[in-house]
């Protein structure tokens, strides 16, 4: 292996390294206050979430309206494990991943047999159910009172005679989130180029053709749903330890809708597009949060704006800012009317 030289990189590679470098020095730029850093972490968190959700609609072509359910499960599991047992964040992350995947399988295995629309409704119902449980099972979750006082993330080396370093302020979370995004993106690229990815794309492009290649539709869809849920739960765990307070209404349906918007806006199925979608919508959401009260409007009007963006996107750029050919082709195909069937000829009268 030779040395990695800048001039050997492709344009895409240079852009990537440039963006990463920018992200790494961002906290030290003059205009970056704690508030800006907070928003940046939010962007990174939503990148993880939308990359996770993207597996289902983007890679498999299935509408999933209940993703926030897994996010909520992940957040509360992490919160409660920390609250009651003081479990370390580094132990919780793999647990959250497995926990999310298990819930994904439990929900997916019986319901992924359903056709698209019914499946979407079931996922929607699931996320509402999660909110109901979080609200009503007060003995476990404290219900609407919320779960305060969750420990921050820390790196504890006291076992080896080292120091214990607690994550105070936004800065350490910012870098933690960058690492998590990098891992997520790496995993997504690996999946995309794997046997698993090829099966998913075949399913997305044409289920009948996929099944005639011997691909087990249900099994691959359940795997997709489980991995997606696992990333949702990991995102939730990070969220819990970052804001250190949880309440059920943080996991309402709107959250699913927002993440879905990021995917559709950025370009369903496109890893970069999805991340751009997260940047655009989180920033826009924050800008609107400032502007709307000035205009005398409630902040909930934000969702009206998101809805409007979705309508405009569907009209003018249905496959997103950075479309992938497969999705663009599907969108075009959806507009073609089916031919009328000619009446049959026959021997019998």
């Amino acid at each position: 292996m030779g040395k990695l030289r800048l001039q050997d990189l492709t344009r895409g590679g240079k852009i990537r390294i440039g963006l990463l470098a920018l992200a790494l020095i961002l906290p030290f730029l003059p205009f970056v206050t704690d508030y800006v850093l907070h928003i940046a972490i939010l962007v990174l968190l939503y990148m993880i979430l939308s990359l996770g959700l993207n597996i289902v609609p983007g890679f498999n072509g299935l509408l999933d309206l209940g993703y926030v359910g897994f996010y909520g499960i992940g957040a509360y599991t992490s919160g409660l494990l920390t609250y009651h047992f003081g479990l370390s964040f580094w132990v919780i992350i793999p647990l959250a991943f497995i926990n999310g995947a298990i819930w994904g399988i439990l929900l997916g295995a019986p319901t992924l047999r359903l056709t698209g629309d019914y499946f979407a409704i079931v996922t929607f119902g699931f996320s509402e159910l999660v909110v109901l449980l979080l609200t009503n099972e007060i003995w476990l979750t404290r219900g609407p009172l919320g779960l305060p006082g969750i420990d921050v993330v820390s790196i504890d080396l006291t076992l080896f005679g080292g120091p214990k370093w607690e994550f105070i302020g936004e800065l350490p979370y910012y870098y933690l989130a960058i690492v998590m995004v990098l891992v997520t993106v790496f995993v997504m690229y690996r999946i995309q180029d794997s046997r698993l990815g090829r099966a998913w794309f075949a399913i997305r492009d044409d289920e009948v053709a996929a099944v005639s290649c011997g691909i087990n539709l249900l099994a691959y869809k359940v795997i997709a749903f489980a991995i997606s849920a696992a990333f949702g739960a990991v995102g939730g765990s990070f969220f819990a330890r970052w804001v250190t307070f949880l309440s059920p209404d943080m996991f309402k349906f709107w959250e699913s809708f927002l993440i879905l918007c990021m995917i559709v806006l950025g370009g369903m199925g496109n890893i970069w597009g999805v991340m751009i979608g997260a940047v655009v919508l989180v920033s826009l959401s924050e800008v609107l949060r400032e502007i709307l009260p000035v205009l005398g409007l409630p902040v909930q009007v934000r969702f009206l704006a998101f809805g409007l963006i979705m309508v405009l996107m569907m009209r003018f750029r249905p496959a997103g800012i950075m479309p992938i050919p497969a999705v663009a082709a599907k969108m075009r195909a959806g507009r073609v009317k089916r031919k009328k069937v000619k009446p049959a000829v026959g021997i019998k009268k």
């Binding site: 492009d205 099944v211 497969a326 049959a344």
Partner: protein, 235 residues
């Protein structure tokens, strides 16, 4: 008998697409199923390949019932369908399409051998192997669809209207290749609206109308049958 359909009834909700179909296909035969639009030909193939489940009746492959076998396992057992309308993956290259056709197989050497074999049958695909499926002509796409199915090494190949939308010269050459594939040891159930050609290239035939078998005979007899001539051969 390699394949046996016994009084198969398949419904879409309350639309009764197949009202009790019985078909037999013997090893090494080419059998055709002809009929007009909406007669139930595709539904029959989808029922055999396990995509649809019949409400009544049985499908036997090598004497074993496959109605409750998962479609991917039916492919594994050696029954492969080429769905109607050239369902290739248009955004994947020819090679990637063929690779997907061999999805169930792990034997690298055998796969490469079979890729050579299908390139032998369809030389044009070798030239186009790096091209996207969607950029191929209609005839080439149909060849790719058949080639992809061959990659699973099927014993029984189910072809759904291979001549659909192809120019007449191409249709002849597609049928020639189908015969060639059959001679290399693959049994074929051929569904067609192009009754003339289908009957010329097959040994036996079934005529399906509104979900029922109206006639069945050797193809030579069917070609001479007055009713068939009037309704399907345009004479």
């Amino acid at each position: 008998m390699l394949l046996e359909l016994d009084n198969v009834k398949t419904y879409y909700g309350n639309i009764r697409a197949l009202k009790g179909i019985s078909i037999e296909v013997d090893k090494d035969e080419i059998v055709c199923l002809i009929g007009g639009n909406g007669a139930g030909k595709s539904t029959t193939l989808m029922t055999i390949s396990g995509v649809l489940t019949p409400v009544e009746g049985d499908v036997l492959y090598k004497g074993q019932s496959i109605v409750s076998v998962r479609p991917d396992n039916i492919v594994r057992m050696g029954v492969c369908q080429v769905p109607e309308g050239r369902m290739i993956f248009p955004l994947l290259t020819v090679m990637e399409n063929l690779d997907l056709g061999a999805y169930l197989r792990k034997d690298k050497d055998g796969i490469n051998e079979d890729i050579d074999r299908v390139f032998g049958i369809f030389p044009v695909l070798r030239e186009r192997r790096k091209q996207h499926g969607g950029t191929l002509s209609g005839g080439e796409q149909q060849m790719l669809a058949i080639a992809r199915a061959l990659m699973s090494r099927p014993n029984l190949l189910l072809l759904d209207e291979p001549s659909l939308g192809l120019a007449p010269i191409l249709v002849d050459s597609i049928f020639e290749t189908i015969r060639q594939i059959n001679e290399q040891g693959t049994t074929i159930l051929l569904v067609e609206q192009n009754a003339q050609l289908a009957l010329q290239f097959s040994r036996r035939g079934y005529v399906i109308e509104t979900g029922e078998i109206a006639l069945s005979d050797t193809s030579a007899e069917l070609l001479n049958n007055e009713e068939v001539k009037k309704a399907y051969l345009g004479e």
